[in-house]
């Protein structure tokens, strides 16, 4: 197993480990399995009596790292290359080269003086750990997400479709600028709406959906004439924006429809772009729910509507009892990820600082994600009821991403509302965000694996074919920025089309260099999966023709 399956690369064993395995097989591991002790938070060590202090047989000290020989259980220490008593032991007894770290249950080769790895050993440890781990009485919640995935295949029209297109359409002609680039008129403090609309107009799966006529507004209006349908209004905007007309478009009808949907947000004042985005997705979803006569969800309980198909992911929340290790898991769908900026630390305006990254005090998106998924100790006033202990205990909470959406929207919480003083303020701090993002470390599979010491093992949540790198790699394609104060600010969107960045400032579309985008104050960042997968659906008509035949 030297290939990168399950995200690991099992390293080649050193000759001493190979020798040991050849001679003793798994005997030593099995014996050791009975001597393991597991802490509630995943720390594995060798069992010993409370008053029994392991001492190095050579120096009789208990300093540094202590190892127990797999063959004769002799204890030796390895403090430094000069004082490597473990090595001495291997020299004194032939074949006694492999030992185990008492505190950490890691294999150690005394000759190579290095930690070594064996999948069988890890498996042995994990099996023992699983037996000991407290389980939920009802078996716990298992998230079954058996999605058959079909590779993305580009659609090529057949001759009939070609003829249909030739007859039913007229070409737009040439333009040196990408299609779909069109300014949106500000209708009076509506830059919050324009900025999000620009991002959505160029969200690849959404754009493909509407441009492929998947929501035909004329048919939709025919089936329910008086109905309010935000998707129809979106369809109208897509048609207008991709029509080739470059004069700025006024999304007036959309505003009207949206205000009818979101009555509480309908007023002539600046709104929050994120709130608008949420409200809009909700509007598209609601209408879809009302219309569907058939099952509204597919076999897995996922919503069919385009808003959810594009943006919906699943978050996993684990609450672990710090006393017994019992973990309670819940899954929640999400359409975006809201991240807190790191709390204030002085002087972060270090534009001229030469040192990189975290050292210089720059906030980064990766940093926010690290914080989002790190284990958080719930306060003593928030003790969680542990089913295993049957009393309230102090707990750790950890978030992770069970399933990534096709398009990932990050919302940076820049607007702080203080309910005490009934006022809000804006956090202007710069946040660095990457153009290419790998979400693998934040997946539930990675987080859980890390919790168990990254042992080489197939954990719950590892999907056999989904662990290839490409499904967790994302590319940035739109950034919604906010400048100015809370009450008197302005939203602008930067779009990446054909590897060129454009600034969409209401009606004004200009070309900007990459560095302007990097230096901007990101409020919402939109990332799309580098490689698409088409989700296998029962409704075959939603698949491109090619897949029918295959």
């Amino acid at each position: 197993m030297s290939t990168k399956t399950q995200r690991y690369t099992t390293p080649q064993p050193c000759p001493h480990l190979s020798d040991y395995r050849a001679k003793h097989g798994l005997k030593g591991y099995r014996v050791l399995q009975k001597c393991l002790k597991f802490g509630p938070l995943g720390k594995t060590s060798i069992k010993r009596e409370q008053n029994q202090i392991p001492k190095c047989s050579f120096c009789l000290k208990s300093h540094g790292r202590l190892f127990v020989c797999l063959i004769c259980a002799n204890v030796s220490c390895c403090g430094s290359p000069n004082s490597n008593h473990a090595h001495l032991h291997s020299r004194s007894e032939v074949g006694h080269e492999i030992a185990v770290d008492i505190e950490r249950a890691e294999l150690f080769c005394c000759v190579c003086c290095d930690q070594v790895y064996d999948p069988e050993f890890d498996m042995t440890v994990m099996f023992a750990q699983i037996m000991v781990l407290p389980k939920a009485i009802n078996g716990g919640s298992e998230y079954s997400s058996k999605r058959r995935k079909i590779d993305y295949k580009q659609w090529v029209p057949n001759s009939r479709e070609l003829l249909l297109m030739q007859r039913g359409s007229s070409p737009l002609g040439n333009s040196c600028f990408p299609w779909g680039l069109r300014g949106l008129n500000n209708l009076g403090n509506t830059c919050f709406m324009n900025s999000v609309l620009q991002a959505l107009l160029h969200t690849p799966p959404l754009r493909n959906y509407f441009l492929s006529d998947r929501h035909n507004r004329k048919l939709c209006q025919k089936s329910s004439p008086s109905g309010l349908c935000l998707a129809c209004d979106m369809d109208a905007i897509f048609s207008a924006v991709f029509s080739g007309d470059r004069k700025p478009y006024s999304p007036a009808k959309f505003l009207y429809s949206w205000w009818q949907h979101a009555a509480n947000l309908a007023s002539y004042e600046q709104q929050d772009a994120h709130e608008f985005f949420m409200s809009m997705l909700d509007g598209i979803h609601e209408r879809e729910e009302r219309d569907q006569r058939g099952p509204r969800t597919d076999g897995n309980g996922d919503c069919y509507c385009v808003a959810h198909r594009v943006f919906s992911g699943v978050l996993r929340s684990d609450v672990t009892c710090t006393v017994c290790g019992f973990t309670s898991t819940t899954y929640d769908p999400c359409v975006d990820i809201s991240l807190d900026l790191d709390p204030y630390y002085g002087g972060s305006s270090m534009v001229t600082d030469k040192s990189l990254g975290k050292g210089s005090g720059t906030s980064t998106l990766i940093g926010c994600l690290d914080r989002f998924t790190r284990p958080e100790k719930l306060g003593s006033d928030q003790k969680f009821f542990c089913q295993n202990c049957q009393i309230r205990q102090e707990s750790l909470k950890q978030m992770s991403i069970r399933r990534l959406p096709l398009v990932l929207c990050f919302h940076i919480k820049r607007f702080e509302h203080s309910s005490i003083r009934n006022m809000s303020k804006k956090v202007d701090r710069y946040l660095q965000f990457p153009f290419s993002l790998d979400m693998a470390p934040y997946l539930s599979s990675s987080i859980i694996r890390n919790r168990f010491g990254n042992r080489i093992f197939i954990f719950e949540g590892d999907e056999p074919d989904a662990c290839s790198d490409s499904s967790s790699e994302f590319e940035l394609f739109a950034v919604v920025t906010h400048t100015g104060k809370l009450e008197a600010g302005h939203y602008v969107t930067y779009l990446r089309l054909r590897n060129q960045w454009y600034k969409c400032d209401d009606a004004w579309i200009t070309q900007v260099s990459e560095r302007v985008v990097r230096a901007s104050q990101g409020y919402m960042m939109y990332y799309v999966q580098k490689m698409f997968y088409y989700k296998a659906s029962d409704d075959l008509s939603s698949l491109p023709e090619q897949n029918h035949r295959s």
Partner: protein
Amino acid sequence: MSMSKEDNNSFHSQLSSHLFSDLLDSLIIDVASECHRVARLGLDRNLEEEEEELRLSAQARVMVADSSSNCETNSKYTTDIFGQTHPAVASEIFECMNCGRSIVAGRFAPHLEKCMGKGRKARMKLTRSSTATQQRQSRGSPNSSYTPYMNSSSNVHYSNSRVSNGTSGMMMDEYQKSSTEPTEGTSEESR
């Protein structure tokens, strides 16, 4: 056996510093062991790519800070990439889908707010549901508890003639609202 006070103290402080250094070593080895495993198993993040992104961003910030002091990039009076210029307030004119009036795009939102009866001022009043509006319309009585635009003292009789554009007086809005109700005739209004 009989240690002086200083000896006792130094012994204790030695002991505590030994203890501390043991704990510290243990912590360091914990981290080292975990990192070693992560690195050997190929689980570590692609730090090179991350650092490259950080470097590019830092560089970008410096360059943008420099260039913005030279030229104005933010002006709304620039020409867009298609060679067009636009006024600060959007000048396109279209019909309001609620009342049918011709509205300037840049002022559409404030118009629509009043037109639909939404917004802060309207919300300050108690009930403003569409049914309440309809009730008011059918009754024809200018009940001031519904909207501030209903001036109860106005006994003006509106004729059917078109109201000129641009006047956004409160009474006019009310007239416009009622004229869009398909079931109401203007007779409702004249009381």
